[in-house]
């Protein structure tokens, strides 16, 4: 059963990821990205990260991809672009070499050190269907609001800075508006 879930979710992730880089229409690329993000959410559930799976669907597939689609529509780039030609002839072979190299090196490192990782912490509390169903959320909350509370507060500052910065970036200045 676990194997079936893994194979299906891995297929979703890989098909979506390849779709993002080969689809010539940005809208299709964004929709392929949703497929990948859902596959990753399935993987999170399979790894007992239930809260993160929910956040993945809501924040990534819900908010970020919608923002991407919004910008694509706003800028009017929702048409097929020509990706068959490449001005730098060596770029694609080089990119393929870099990609295969990165994958090969990381896979070699993971496989060679697969016995080096042992259990260290106190263990993840698996959600219990009969009794307490939200142990993962409780454990994560204790970590976020306990050990990492300073980082959590800094995160709120980061979000405010990002929002204010974006408003400033995309605001049309009135004098510049007259020229265009």
């Amino acid at each position: 059963m676990e194997l079936v879930v893994f194979v299906l979710a891995a297929a979703m992730i890989l098909v979506g990821a390849v779709g993002v880089i080969v689809r010539s229409n940005p809208v299709h690329a964004a929709l392929s990205l949703i497929l990948t993000l859902f596959g990753v959410a399935v993987m999170f559930v399979a790894q007992n990260a239930h809260f993160l799976a929910a956040v993945q669907v809501i924040v990534y597939a819900g908010a970020i991809v919608v923002l991407f689609l919004f910008v694509i529509m706003l800028l009017g780039v929702d048409r097929t672009e020509d990706i068959s030609s490449e001005p730098f002839k060596v770029q694609r072979p080089l990119a393929a070499i870099v990609g295969v190299g990165v994958i090969g090196l990381v896979v070699a490192a993971v496989v060679s050190s697969r016995d080096a990782i042992g259990t260290r912490g106190e263990g993840l509390n698996v959600a219990d269907v009969v009794g307490d169903g939200d142990t993962n959320i409780k454990q994560l909350a204790r970590s976020v609001f306990g050990d990492y509370v300073v980082a959590f507060e800094v995160t709120s500052v980061l979000l405010v800075v990002a929002v204010v910065g974006t408003v400033l970036l995309t605001r049309r200045i009135k004098s510049a508006g007259k020229d265009s």
Binding site: T36, M43, A49, L74, V106, R114, L124, S143
Partner: protein
């Protein structure tokens, strides 16, 4: 059927999948010239790292990995907002710009 039941995915499988996903994202950033699609490929790479964090959190029995993924998601959201704001303001100035056109980094 017993063979299927015996082969349960281990942490190594998840880490290899994450490596492949990261590699695809890296190739996408290098190959595509539309800044929006390059941005999507960066999201792919972030998700690959999140996947390996979650897999190792389960393997090590440490919730800290999931906490890290939580923060990565928040930072990714902020990054997307700022990045798309920059792309919108660039594209307004010159429609249809690719990453090659805006390599000089000046107005």
């Amino acid at each position: 059927m017993s063979l299927v039941a015996a082969a349960t995915p281990t942490t190594t499988w998840y880490l290899i999948l994450a490596a492949v996903l990261f590699g695809i994202g890296a190739v996408g950033v290098l190959v595509r010239r539309n800044p929006l699609v390059m941005f999507m490929c960066i999201e792919l790479m972030l998700n690959a790292v999140n996947l390996s964090f979650v897999a190792l959190a389960k393997k090590l029995g440490d919730i800290g990995g999931q906490t890290t993924v939580f923060f990565v998601m928040v930072v990714a959201a902020a990054e997307v907002v700022v990045g798309l704001g920059i792309i919108v303001s660039i594209m307004r100035r010159r429609p249809g710009a690719t990453a090659d056109d805006i390599s000089a980094m000046k107005g």
